[in-house]
């Protein structure tokens, strides 16, 4: 079956339906404007957020692999994620279960599903923008420039580590900076941009995460940023909601929000930074 090149199977993940909703709404509208027909995969489930690093823990790969089975069922060869954590679990689990003995066991276990055959590519929004849309086309589609807004690009961990699954050079990435530039913003490269925020330690060790968030925000602000953007809902939560007293108050937004705004989509949080419009808290869903 010939696949429609503009059709994109999409795995949202739980955060996009919850705290990262502004990211999803903005990104999907931007992708539609870029000519993509994004189709949410049917009956998806949580990918489990964190990739199991153990050799014998096949059970923890069922979540991600089951989603890949759904992509296969749509007749698609690749799946888009916006969430950095989803990208990590899906790519790594897909590779882990490629090994024939593991594949056989996991397929035997998921006995009500079609067998996973492998060969599904997981694409993150950033690589899609870089490798398929291209920075130039992206820039040409910009309706409202970010107007030199200084944007600190926070990668966190999963987009860059481990090396085999990095969306860019793990020590000197530039993809997010180039996207910001294409949108008319000025990227702020800061030393903490790929240092972990503490991730799930926010459960039980919020003291540690507060320290990390404070450090990352001070580093971004100290390098002149007006705001921080990320593609990870857990980073966004940690930097914003675990912001310690006295830390810089700069907003922490999703990449999809600045993308959407630049492409002319309503995005109150970005509008508030660039215009006199007051932020109303929630983006206005239009046509999603």
């Amino acid at each position: 079956m010939p696949t429609n090149p503009s059709r994109l199977a999409y795995f949202p993940g739980c955060a996009m339906k919850d705290q990262a909703r502004p990211d999803e709404l903005g990104t999907l509208q931007a992708l539609a404007l870029l000519g993509y027909e994004v189709e949410e995969i049917p009956r998806w489930n949580c990918c489990g957020t964190v990739y199991s690093l153990a050799q014998d823990d096949l059970m923890r790969h069922v979540g991600p692999v089951r989603n890949l089975v759904r992509v296969q069922g749509m007749g698609e060869k690749r799946v888009l994620t916006l969430c950095a954590m989803c990208y990590g679990t899906l790519t790594r689990s897909a590779r882990f279960v490629e090994e024939p003995e593991r594949l056989e066991r996991i397929n035997a276990f998921m006995d009500t599903e079609d067998d996973f055959r492998g060969g599904i590519e997981v694409v993150h929004l950033l690589t899609l923008l870089r490798d398929e849309v291209g920075y130039e086309k992206l820039a040409s589609q910009v309706k409202r420039s970010l107007d030199g807004l200084k944007v600190a690009t926070y990668y966190g961990c999963v987009l860059l580590r481990p090396r085999e699954f990095a969306v860019d050079d793990p020590e000197r990435p530039e993809v997010m900076e180039r996207v910001v530039e294409a949108l008319g913003g000025t990227p702020t490269v800061f030393p903490e941009r790929m240092e972990c925020c503490g991730a799930y330690l926010t459960v039980g060790r919020s003291d540690v995460v507060e320290d990390r968030a404070g450090r990352i925000l001070r580093s971004a602000r100290g390098n002149g940023a007006d705001l921080v953007v990320t593609t990870c809902p857990l980073c966004q939560f940690n930097l914003d909601k675990r912001r310690p007293a006295g830390a810089p108050s700069l907003p922490v937004l999703y990449l999809g929000q600045i993308l959407a705004w630049a492409m002319g989509v309503d995005e109150p949080a970005v509008a508030a930074l660039l215009t006199d419009e007051p932020a109303t808290g929630k983006p206005v869903p239009s046509g999603v």
């Binding site: 957020t49 690093l53 090396r163 991730a199 060790r205 809902p233």
Partner: protein, 131 residues
Amino acid sequence: MASELDLSRDRLDAPFARRVEELSGENPYACYQCGKCSAGCPFADYMDALPNQVLRLVQLGDESALDLSAPWVCASCLACGVRCPKGVDIAKTMEALRLLALRKGISPAPATPDRPCPQIALVGAYRKLTP
């Protein structure tokens, strides 16, 4: 006669080290204790043993590694692994120690949310902090 120095790795080849290797897929003896992992670990300040020291205990087959807080403070950020000159993915060793502790019922992990958390955090934590 001069006494012989036994420098073979057989003396170090402890069952505990083997078990950790099996679970993590990482050879603990590949580590030559340069400390680069610890230098770049964003959580080293909060650990009771540095990542390279945790690895050293594993090399020595010392099961007290299971009582450390370090593996529970490790956030699996993988900064150590991308920088290790010997290609040791220490995050996997940390995961193996967490799993061994959890499977033996030694669980010093603070798994109770001390403040409200979104589900992405809860799912992540419970996948890491429960057997």
